[in-house]
């Protein structure tokens, strides 16, 4: 059980305190309820570019990193399609430094041309490093476009194309900030060697006078149900043929989430998982194969991806994958097989919860979803999943008309 206390400031900022006196450190985690899905289709990559700009100085504090490092702290941030998260770890004695820095950038950024100019370049290099220069690096851009027709999950957090980032203007940046980076759209978690009284006092002092802002009401286009299978063939300068298949699944809050999560674990994720054992070890059709889901807040995707053994025909490889999925749809998995992936999940959660930083992040995540307390009920929800549930979800998801396929073929 992760213990915590929760209160809300007059401006709507939700604050969660999680005390752990066994560590000398404190963690501050701020999650803003904005991600790439909230972007204008003509200005993609903005939420992530914005994350970079958050380190370019705020209205009263010209440098963010320097005072934090002086206080012995470290920080980082990440952006997903759903949310943006900033976190700091520092010696508990210097907790107030974190309040000072984070509250000032929530108050307002410095909005400097120089910072925008540099971070545009940095993000472009990041784009190249991760998506352009790596073999198969563009495949998830293509897959998202294939699987999503309406919902903004059809682009990656890094953005649809370099030009969207290159063309970002300072005014766009300001509008984005004042729309999303307001107390009403954020969750603040303070964890580690801290007391509730002290956090209350500091939260009032540093965040209390920030204008509430308008609650952002998300109304995103709903992805229409896919009714026909979709297919794309890519030929590129890669050494091996690769197969990618995706199917639509429910949202994070859908009751089916836990069964689907365990279903992907049965298929992949360990040396005794089904796809690996059958397709890599026994049939030797793939040199590696994985099954995972995107874990997204809105309705997401289950994906299977694998690289073919040289000389194997794509048609044969794909048939073998489908055969494994058919088995999932036709026969219940063994009780012991389900128990195995439940045990794995229990152990994974225990390892994650070792770190204060990870606990703080989870509290912020569940609070953003709706309630931080959900964090403590995850294991029970997994425990309730039955072999019937796995069968039902397999049948619901692994349908031909629900599937998008990419054959990524080697030109060589």
């Amino acid at each position: 059980m992760i213990q915590f206390e929760r209160f809300t400031l007059a401006n709507g900022l939700r604050v969660i305190v999680h005390q752990d006196l066994s560590t000398p450190m404190a963690v501050m985690n701020i999650m803003y309820d904005v991600g790439a899905r909230d972007e204008d289709p003509e200005q993609t990559g903005f939420a992530h570019l914005f994350e970079h700009l958050m380190f370019g100085g705020s209205v009263n504090v010209p440098s963010y990193d320097e005072p934090l490092q002086m206080a012995g702290g470290e920080n980082n941030a990440y952006t997903t399609n759903d949310l943006t998260n900033y976190y700091i770890q520092l010696p508990a004695e210097n907790l107030e430094t974190a309040f000072w820095l984070e509250s000032d950038r929530m108050l307002s950024l410095a909005f400097s041309d120089k910072s925008l100019d540099v971070q545009r370049k940095v993000v472009c290099e990041e784009f190249k490093e991760h998506y352009l220069t790596k073999p198969y690096g563009d495949v998830w851009h293509k897959m998202r476009e294939l699987a999503y027709k309406k919902h903004p999950y059809r682009w990656m957090t890094i953005g649809k194309e370099l030009s969207h980032i290159e063309n970002a203007k300072l005014d766009d940046v300001k509008n984005f900030f004042f729309k999303h980076y307001r107390p009403v759209n954020a969750v603040l978690v303070v964890a580690g060697n801290v007391t509730v009284e002290r956090v209350k006092e500091l939260a009032e002092k540093w965040f209390g006078d920030i204008p509430a802002g308008e609650k952002y009401n998300r109304s995103l286009p709903v992805e229409p149900e896919q009714t026909q299978e979709r297919f794309l063939e890519i030929k590129a300068n890669v050494p091996l043929d690769a197969l990618y298949k995706c199917w639509h699944m429910g949202s994070r809050m859908d009751g089916s989430y836990y069964a689907v999560d365990l279903m992907t674990d049965i298929l992949s994720g360990g040396g005794s998982s089904r796809l690996y054992q059958s397709l890599v070890k026994e049939q030797k059709l793939f040199s590696n194969i994985e099954c995972h889901h995107f874990g997204s807040t809105d309705a997401g995707l289950v994906a299977v991806e694998g690289k073919l053994v040289k000389g194997v025909k794509m048609e044969d490889a794909e048939k073998a994958v489908e055969k494994e999925l058919e088995k999932m749809k036709n026969e219940k998995v063994a009780e012991a097989e389900l128990q195995k992936v439940k045990n794995k999940t229990e152990s994974m959660i225990a390892f994650e919860d070792m770190s204060v930083m990870s606990r703080a992040n989870s509290l912020a995540y569940y609070e953003t979803l709706g309630d931080a307390a959900w964090m403590n009920f995850e294991l029970q929800k997994y425990a309730k999943v039955t072999t019937e549930d796995i069968l039902e979800q397999s049948r619901r998801i692994f349908r031909r008309e629900n599937c998008s396929t990419i054959h990524y073929l080697s030109q060589n």
């Binding site: 107030e96 309040f99 990041e126 220069t133 590696n288 195995k340 794995k344 070792m354």
Partner: protein, 424 residues
């Protein structure tokens, strides 16, 4: 209204009194040393078996790595599938890794399952059979993986810079080629396994929520292994004569992988811990000179880092980044400019305090958790250092002077000592 213009008071991390939690050391019947850290709130633990079985000991490329990989791919009683299924059923993570001097097996599990799992790890150490079919699959799949990696400029650059520094016949410089996989055979692997695992030299590390009888459990399952000493041959580095390299790996590449490196002594050299401070200043953290200039000022790259390679023997000081193809040369120029600045100008006290506080805060955070503490101990033991090394490092961070740093920059940050490589 809070005063937002001024930073709140801080306690300088440099004033912290850092303690490395003590590891209990005990010795099994056969002389195997065990280091145990009993700490943490979660009911989890990790055990690491460290063998002197790294690629330093192999007579042919890839024998050490392949033997290590195949440890869990079959015993006389169980198939690879059965072994994996057993560990996974208990939600345990069983990993293995091969390094230069050492090769390891690592088990992470819920503390309540340790008694079920230890006998199965023993089985891997005394009874692996390296099935031919498993070797065939490994060869095929690793060759495919290598083909994909060879398309990546960062992968190619990291291999080549080590070749320049150490030579292709040195354990730190050699790398796997496609044909190396073809020459592997089962007999070689079994010989290596017998000599360096079944009969080889073992050290154990355990950390987390430990059961009260951990010592007797370990003695029961690992106290009868032969644990024979193995000799570590001296192998000299053969650094390349030429210093500058420009390689094209992909004509259409939009980024270059830049590596700059010079040889550097190991942790036993008196300059080592002092240079860790200078390195942090140069490129060891987000606020470093290299990051501030080359990322935050010029936007040439997503990230640039400098570090000392983590080697037990003589090592290297390296600067590494991926930069836009057209700014790779400018990036190298800027790195040299930053080295020059460090040679010619004394770092001011404010910036030095920043580095000290950052490093101290980092160590404080890094000592948080049983596995991190274990990592520190592993570092000390495997590098043949003592606990005092930790406290000496802290003392160096707190007290090294700006003048000493300048002197070290003059001694080591000389452009002519550096290899330069760009792979596009």
């Amino acid at each position: 209204m809070p005063d937002r213009k001024h930073a709140p008071e801080i306690v300088d991390a440099v004033n912290f009194k850092l303690q490395l939690k003590h590891a209990e050391k005990f010795v099994l019947k056969n002389g195997v040393e065990v280091y145990a850290v009993d700490a943490g709130a979660e009911e989890v633990l990790a055990v690491e078996w460290v063998f002197s079985a790294g690629n330093w000991f192999e007579e042919q490329n890839l024998v050490a790595a392949t033997t290590n990989f195949l440890l869990r791919n079959g015993t006389s009683k169980k198939t690879a599938f059965q072994i994996n299924e057993y560990f996974e059923y208990y939600g345990a993570y069983l990993n293995r890794a091969c390094y230069n001097e050492t090769a390891t097996i690592t088990l992470h599990c819920l503390s309540k399952h340790i008694k079920e799992l230890l006998p199965s790890v023993r089985e891997l150490i005394v009874d692996s059979v390296m099935p031919q079919e498993e070797l065939d699959i490994y060869q095929q799949n690793m060759k495919q993986r290598l083909k994909v990696n060879l398309k990546k400029s960062d992968f190619v650059a990291s291999r080549l810079i080590d070749v320049y520094l150490y030579g292709e016949s040195h354990p730190y410089g050699k790398y796997s080629k496609l044909e190396d996989f073809d020459t592997l055979n089962k007999e070689q692997l079994l010989d290596f396994y017998k000599k360096y695992y079944q009969q080889g030299k073992l050290v154990l590390f355990v950390a987390g929520k430990l059961p009260a009888d951990i010592a007797s459990l370990l003695d029961q399952y690992f106290g009868d292994l032969p644990n024979q000493p193995v000799a570590l041959q001296e192998i000299m580095a053969q650094p390349a004569a030429d210093r500058k390299y420009r390689i094209t790996n992909d004509e259409a590449g939009v980024q270059g992988s830049v590596r700059m490196a010079r040889s550097f002594p190991n942790r036993h050299h008196p300059d080592f811990m002092k240079v860790m401070v200078l390195n942090t200043l140069l490129g060891g953290f987000f606020g470093s000179r290299l990051m501030s200039n080359i990322r935050e000022e010029k936007g040439y790259t997503y990230g640039i880092h400098s570090f000392i390679q983590n080697h037990i023997h003589d090592t290297a000081w390296m600067i590494s980044t991926e930069a836009g193809k057209d700014v790779c040369e400018a990036t190298i120029e800027e790195v040299y400019k930053e080295m020059k600045l460090l040679r010619e100008q004394v770092v001011d006290e404010e910036e030095l305090l920043l580095v000290r506080n950052y490093m101290m805060g980092g160590i404080l955070g890094d000592l948080d958790g049983p596995f991190q503490i274990m990592g520190r101990w592993k570092n000390i033991v495997l590098n043949n250092l003592t606990e005092q090394y930790f406290y000496d490092s802290i003392h160096t961070i707190k007290t090294i002077s700006a003048e000493e740093l300048q002197f070290l920059a003059q001694k080591y940050l000389q452009p002519e000592a550096f290899y330069e490589l760009v792979v596009v």
